[in-house]
């Protein structure tokens, strides 16, 4: 790079460079236009909508208002017009956050040993095990959620087996609970934890682990003091990859949580359906997006610090 900096390109070369830039932009144009039209652009429009007034039958009235943003956290008391905390929203935020965190911890508990197991298989067999983890990840999320639903239903397999064994007398209500959502999300997002942790274990220099054992570390000490710090980047990546989609989950809580156990995504949908409050829905969407961006930024900061430390 230093050579290039010292080298001053001639006029002809600069022109060729500019022509190359132009042609590259032209090549990228279709993708840029499609995404601007149907992804990035609409997000900008949504920012505008979050500052408008809700229409009586959904949609908006073009009149500036901060109510949408205010309603994310507070609501007006219908009797004396004072502002009170929007408890329903706060409990949904809390459910989203805590369930996403629980999901992340559960995928760690099950995902790290699985990744370790696959990465320590003989090289020829690894691809097969990895394939086993990846296939469910690429299969339809709705179908996997339906599979969990059929398992958890009152007439489902789990209840039936427990009844047959005489462990319970009446079916346990598992569907439409926080447990069902957490279970379902752990199930559908598990591969997202296994894959980055696998990549980290795969890169692990086992001579360091041997050195730890030579220095009389037990398996547990070696794991905690040597292995864990070395595979930490994979664990952080996996945690972020699980936490972010959990926070924005819509299908899994809708199917398994029912109408009472809403998460962030379902609260957003509600505003565009029965709630008929599009500005509030737009504001909530932007809040969710901001939460995801904060998580991503935290991840970038942590990983860049890790790299500079190493």
């Amino acid at each position: 790079m230093s050579e290039q900096a010292a080298y001053r390109p001639g006029e002809l070369e600069a022109e060729a460079q500019a022509a190359d830039n132009r042609s590259r932009w032209m090549l990228a144009l279709p993708a840029v236009v499609i995404i601007t039209l149907a992804a990035a652009g609409p997000l900008m429009v949504m920012v505008v909508y979050s500052f408008l007034t809700p229409g009586d039958y959904g949609n908006v009235v073009w009149k500036f208002s901060l109510e949408g943003w205010m309603n994310t956290l507070v609501q007006r008391d219908i009797f004396d017009d004072t502002l009170i905390w929007a408890d329903a929203h706060l409990s949904i935020f809390w459910r989203s956050f805590s369930l996403s965190l629980i999901t992340t911890v559960l995928t760690l508990i099950f995902g790290v040993p699985t990744a370790w197991f696959i990465a320590t298989q003989p090289p020829g067999k690894r691809e097969f095990w990895l394939f086993l983890i990846t296939v469910p990840f690429w299969t339809n999320l709705l179908v996997r959620t339906i599979a969990i639903q059929e398992l958890l239903r009152s007439e489902g397999v789990i209840n039936l087996v427990l009844l047959k064994l005489g462990i319970i007398d009446a079916p346990i209500q598992m569907m439409f609970t926080n447990f069902a959502i957490g279970f379902g999300m752990t199930y559908v997002y598990l591969p997202l934890m296994v894959l980055p942790v696998y990549a980290a274990v795969d890169k692990l220099d086992f001579r360091l682990v041997e050195a730890a054992h030579d220095l009389y570390a037990g398996r547990w000490t070696a794991f905690r003091r040597v292995i864990l710090p070395l595979i930490k980047p994979g664990i952080i990546a996996g945690s972020i990859l699980v936490f972010i989609p959990s926070l924005g989950a819509y299908v899994t809580p809708r199917v398994l949580g029912g109408g009472k156990n809403l998460m962030f995504g379902n609260l957003i949908e509600l505003q565009f359906g029965q709630g008929r409050n599009w500005p509030l829905g737009a504001a909530l969407s932007l809040m969710l997006m901001a939460a995801v961006m904060i998580a991503l930024m935290w991840y970038v900061r942590v990983t860049s610090r890790e790299q500079s430390d190493g």
Binding site: I35, I133, T139, A147, V157, L190, D202, F206, V209, G281
Partner: protein, 274 residues
Amino acid sequence: MAESRTQKPPKGYSVRTLPGFAIVAIFTLITLYAPIAILVTFSFNAGTSMAIWEGFSLRWYQQAVANEAVQDAAVRSLFLALVAASVATVAATMAALATTRTRHFPGKTMIYALINQPLMVPEIVTAVALLIVFAAIKVWTGHTSMIYLIVAHTAFCVPFAYLPIRARLETMDLSLETAAQDLYASRWLTFRRVTLPLMWPGIVAGLMLAFVISLDDVVITEFVKSAGQETLPTYMLGQLRRVVTPEVNAISTVILLAGAILVSLFFRLTSKRG
């Protein structure tokens, strides 16, 4: 990766073994497949239960195939996935050619960020943003064809098609193209006879990935579709609110099978080098 076993370790002792890890791993893998296995099994059940086996039958498949709503949704899903994945793959191929094998150029980071943008934003957020914009356009023009779904699907398919194509391009040998040009091939001829054949596996992989992603999509479709534009996933989501019969299992099994076949092909394409 690095293995150093110059000295024989104590008998049966391996630093790669961690107590309990294998058990947890096997348990996890079984748990990963058990619900799917149960779902598939009961799609062949003769009775209406999804937990009590009453004998083998194909009645739910027959019922699903005979169901006009299912036929309609299946045809729409396939059409949508085919169009969106194809358009997205062409756009992604061009974008990949633009953003790889070059020094940094002004706007490269922006193009890259824009292409990956659909991956960064929660799907529900993109879905309601599209609902807002498309609702306004639908009211304004009175036009409610499939075009909205096609545009929306194409957009979120682009990054998925882009990734394998870009990966392929980055591992490709530039000298072959230089050789072609040394032999007086024009730029277009070089592209058609050298570059394109070399990047073809990446393009096919991208197309298949985009196809699977479009076929599986529920959230954006649910918010963008006009009345009567059910795809298979939105049809199934709607059915879940009613009394569920193993017909849903039968449709699920077919979707699973189609997805598994495509993903296996995708793996074969991307794991083979050269």
